[in-house]
């Protein structure tokens, strides 16, 4: 009824709220939450509100994720049904794809596909917050499969006396599929091991954190 004068920021906020609520709340509760917030914003935004007034009003109500978190909290606290608390299978799948993309990085086409699909799932997930999504993007792109591939290309060029033990799948483009171990280069072996351990630690911590965050917190 008031949609004709609804500000785009309000429309956008309500749409995002609707999306998150639909996934994580029972239908009747999702509808009620969106209706409540629509009414609230209609009241708090005057007809002659400026762009920044609207932005302020929308900021003051909180993020859709936080609101749905609160609503989920009250469902769970009251013996909510399993339907209100759907499994985090999609998040687990996303995480598995991302981790696998790093492990099988040398299989570039498959790993690349896993990386892209995994990241899309991460961004669609209502359970991860913006900071988690940013972390996933950085770790699995900058430090993930592309990094492994780039190291695979450049390491043989810089290290002298390198023995390539990896499989060369395409003879005309060997760089994309080599696993090389440095034997007599300037970089000491222990440094390489240390770097590898640090790299492994970063990935383990990231995956663990994302996995934990994917589970809906149950307030006591």
């Amino acid at each position: 009824m008031m949609t004709d004068r609804q500000h785009p920021l309000v429309t956008d906020f309500l749409a995002r709220l609707q999306n998150e609520a639909a996934v994580r709340l029972p239908a009747d509760q999702a509808v009620e939450l969106v209706a409540d917030l629509r009414e609230h914003l209609r009241e708090s935004i005057a007809t002659d509100a400026t762009e920044s007034d609207v932005r302020n009003a929308v900021d003051r109500v909180g993020t859709p994720t936080d609101l749905v978190d609160d609503a989920v909290g009250s469902v769970v606290a009251h013996g909510g049904s399993a339907a209100a608390n759907p499994g985090n299978r999609r998040e687990t799948a996303a995480l598995a794809m991302l981790v696998l993309s790093v492990i099988i990085a040398i299989a570039v086409p498959v790993a690349g596909l896993l990386l892209v699909v995994g990241l899309i799932l991460v961004f669609m997930s209502p359970r991860w917050r913006r900071s988690d999504k940013a972390l996933a993007s950085v770790v699995y792109t900058v430090l993930g499969m592309p990094a492994v591939v780039i190291v695979g290309i450049f390491a043989p060029m810089t290290a002298r006396g390198t023995a390539c033990t990896g499989m060369i799948t395409r003879a005309e483009a060997p760089s994309s599929a080599q696993v090389c171990t440095s034997t007599g280069s300037g970089v000491p072996g222990w440094l390489l091991i240390l770097a590898a351990l640090a790299y492994l630690a970063v990935h383990t911590c990231t995956a663990t954190r994302l996995y934990r965050r994917a589970r809906v917190t149950v307030p006591t």
Partner: protein, 113 residues
């Protein structure tokens, strides 16, 4: 997450719920006015968090809601206290007084002597 489970957040959550009920003890209120009042009092982290709370209070039969026509725009949802809600406020009031007195004593270092 660490912050959300912190004692302060839990404390605020528990207190907020009863502040809502206490405000309604004076008579029924429009949901939006209720939110603004608590927000002005500095009890809300964000205005929107009140709505899941109100929804829960209604499910617990501590508050009732009624739709009322308004002069301008669509009907408004009003909240009022049920008998169970009134009892909850009274119980909380007593518990809170006792609790805050005890905590204040300890915090001010007068608990030991």
């Amino acid at each position: 997450m660490a912050l959300e489970s912190s004692a302060l957040t839990q404390l605020r959550r528990g207190a907020l719920e009863h502040c809502v009920l206490a405000l309604l003890a004076d008579g029924e209120r429009y949901g939006y006015d209720l939110v603004m009042e608590l927000s002005t009092a500095g009890l809300l982290a964000s205005e929107g968090t009140m709505y899941p709370l109100l929804s829960r209070l209604r499910k617990d039969a501590l508050v009732n809601t009624t739709w009322r026509e308004s002069d301008s725009g669509p009907p408004r949802r009003y909240y009022s206290l049920t008998q169970a809600g009134a009892d909850a406020v009274e119980a909380f009031r007593e518990a809170w007084e006792q609790f805050s007195t005890s905590v204040n004593l300890i915090l001010n270092g007068k608990g030991a002597s």
